[in-house]
């Protein structure tokens, strides 16, 4: 087994939710209940489960976008949750995210060149002409053109916007990229293009992906390992082939049998 690049041990995160008449009472919701996962360097770990199972909370806790109650997150031997503001910000260069909704995750008032280049500016990587060059190279790599730098997000289709989102995450040469349902808002015909692009880039840039999805057909094609989440807990974890061919847990079996079109494909 290869070395773990990002590791979470015994993560617990609870939300308080207002309940009862007029919301006078509160109930605790365990979004993460003793969750431990490990992402191997250069591999893809898919986290699957229904909405509300805690997939996105896990991703956010891993990147320290949400504080968690207890547990630890270790990235390249450093305990991320112990880092203070400045050190954490420097570390974020290596931890990037691609968001679900390409229509909501790009600032409509910024040009694509500014969106992609913002990370370079913040981290002060290179002179402005070098930054410019990096942005152009990255845009070309994801299948856009130099002329697209001057355009605004609304001028692009959903698939193209997701390419901008990928370029924004990858221009910083990250080590770990968290993809939160990157293709679920896209047409089937566009999904495959984006998945293939992600796979190619992973090979070229030695990226490790944490891939969040509820579409088990997509996961089958992109993941090396799978973690199945249900109600804040990881119920089953293993290699893709193991999980799909010999699911041990009842819930995993239920998820697999819910894949549309499965009955008629055999």
């Amino acid at each position: 087994m290869s070395e773990l690049i990002l590791e979470a041990n015994h993560l617990v995160k609870t939300y308080t939710q207002r309940s009862g008449r007029f919301g006078f009472n509160t109930t605790l919701v365990k979004a993460l209940d003793d969750v431990s996962v490990g992402l191997s360097a250069g591999k893809t770990l898919a986290v699957v489960g229904e909405s509300g199972s805690g997939k996105s909370t896990l991703a956010r806790c891993l990147l320290q976008l949400h504080p968690f109650d207890s547990g630890e997150v270790i990235f390249q031997g450093q305990q991320l949750d112990q880092l203070n503001g400045q050190a954490l910000r420097q570390m974020r260069q290596y931890l990037q995210m691609v968001f679900q909704d390409p229509f909501a995750s790009l600032n409509p008032r910024m040009r694509v060149g500014e969106i992609v280049g913002e990370g370079l500016l913040i981290h002060g990587l290179g002179s402005s002409s070098e930054q410019q060059k990096k942005v152009v190279a990255m845009l070309k790599r994801v299948g856009l053109t130099e002329a697209d730098m001057q355009k605004y997000p609304h001028e692009f289709s959903g698939g193209q916007r997701q390419r901008v989102g990928i370029a924004r995450a990858l221009v910083l040469q990250p080590k770990v990229v968290v993809c939160d349902e990157p293709v679920s808002a896209l047409d089937v015909s566009i999904q495959a293009q984006i998945l293939l692009l992600l796979k190619e880039l992973q090979a070229e840039m030695a990226l490790s992906y944490l891939f969040i999805s509820h579409d088990l057909r997509v996961v089958r094609h992109i993941a090396d390992d799978v973690a199945v989440m249900f109600q804040g807990r990881i119920v089953e974890q293993g290699s893709v082939a193991d999980i799909y061919d010999n699911p041990r847990e009842e819930y995993t079996r239920k998820l697999l049998s819910a894949i549309p079109g499965k009955a008629t494909q055999h």
Binding site: S189, Q193, P260, G261, Q265
Partner: protein, 281 residues
């Protein structure tokens, strides 16, 4: 057997640009007790076709040509594209009902779900009081929601439950045709499977004709009897499910099927191939 709904040569354009064909010469039939799936990418005209059947096209659009013949069980064959608003209102909800894509936004947040289900019962069948309440309760149970939830507001229900409420609303008056516009796209896979099963059971029990719009070929394989594939406003292929899925004739259908990931991971991922367009043009 005459088809329940016969769409022929339907063409839709914007009023200001009558040369821009959003839906171009579309013809297909819906039969009682059968499900016709319309498949295509965004912008292929699937939803416009469904809205045209309901007479719900935006004011900026117009039906340029074509007819939509509906075999009304009471009034005989009617052309829906020629009817006035009053006659359409008698058909909508009563004879032809629709389930919309987004269960989160298509319910009224300030009315209880029971009231919203009851609206069409009062309007079309004149049900009131205890009879209305009993009918609402039985509809909720039919879609798998406890009858006591009739007094709940939409925000108190989950996405799957809201979509069940939408289904209960649409089947309230036992329509002859049910139009479902991507009813499961916004839902989780496990909930999606339940909703598809429910729709299939209801269709069989009530012998409804169903027009089902989707872009997911997996869903098509599960529920369709007939398939219509649309691309840029035109039908490129149509036929029985087995023929279209197992032996697609048109290059676009082949390309679209090729880029659907399979659950076994045996098939290599392929981006959609538009090279056939070059040959056609």
């Amino acid at each position: 057997m005459t088809p329940l709904l016969q769409i022929s040569n339907l063409t839709i354009t914007p009023k200001k640009q009558p040369t821009r064909l959003l839906v171009n010469g579309v013809s297909f039939n819906i039969e009682a007790g059968k499900t016709t799936c319309v498949v295509g990418e965004s912008g292929s005209g699937k939803s416009l076709t469904a809205l045209a059947v309901m007479g719900l096209l935006s004011k900026q659009l117009q039906l340029n040509s074509g007819s939509i013949l509906f075999s009304n069980a009471q009034a005989g064959v009617q052309d829906l594209s020629k009817l006035d608003i009053a006659s359409l209102q008698k058909i909508r909800g009563a004879k032809i009902a629709m389930i919309f894509q987004e269960p989160m936004t298509s319910l009224n947040p300030v009315l209880t779900v029971g009231y919203q289900i009851g609206e069409s019962l009062t309007a079309h069948l004149g049900l009131k009081g205890a009879a209305l309440k009993a009918k609402i309760a039985s509809l909720l149970e039919m879609v798998g929601i406890p009858a006591g939830r009739a007094d709940s507001y939409p925000d108190e229900l989950s996405g799957g439950q809201r979509q069940r409420v939408m289904i209960a609303m649409s089947i309230a008056c036992e329509p002859q045709i049910l139009i479902a516009d991507e009813p499961t796209t916004a839902l989780d896979v496990t909930v999606q499977a339940q909703i598809l099963q429910l729709l299939h059971a209801l269709k069989t029990r009530m012998n409804m004709g169903m027009l089902f719009i989707t872009h997911d070929f997996g869903v098509v394989a599960d529920i369709a009897d007939n398939v219509v594939v649309m691309f840029r406003g035109e039908i490129v292929e149509s036929g029985a499910k087995e023929a279209v899925l197992n032996n697609p004739q048109h290059p676009y259908t082949q390309a679209l099927l090729a880029c659907v990931p399979d659950a076994e991971g045996k098939k290599p991922l392929k981006p959609i191939d538009y090279s056939w367009l070059g040959h056609a043009a």
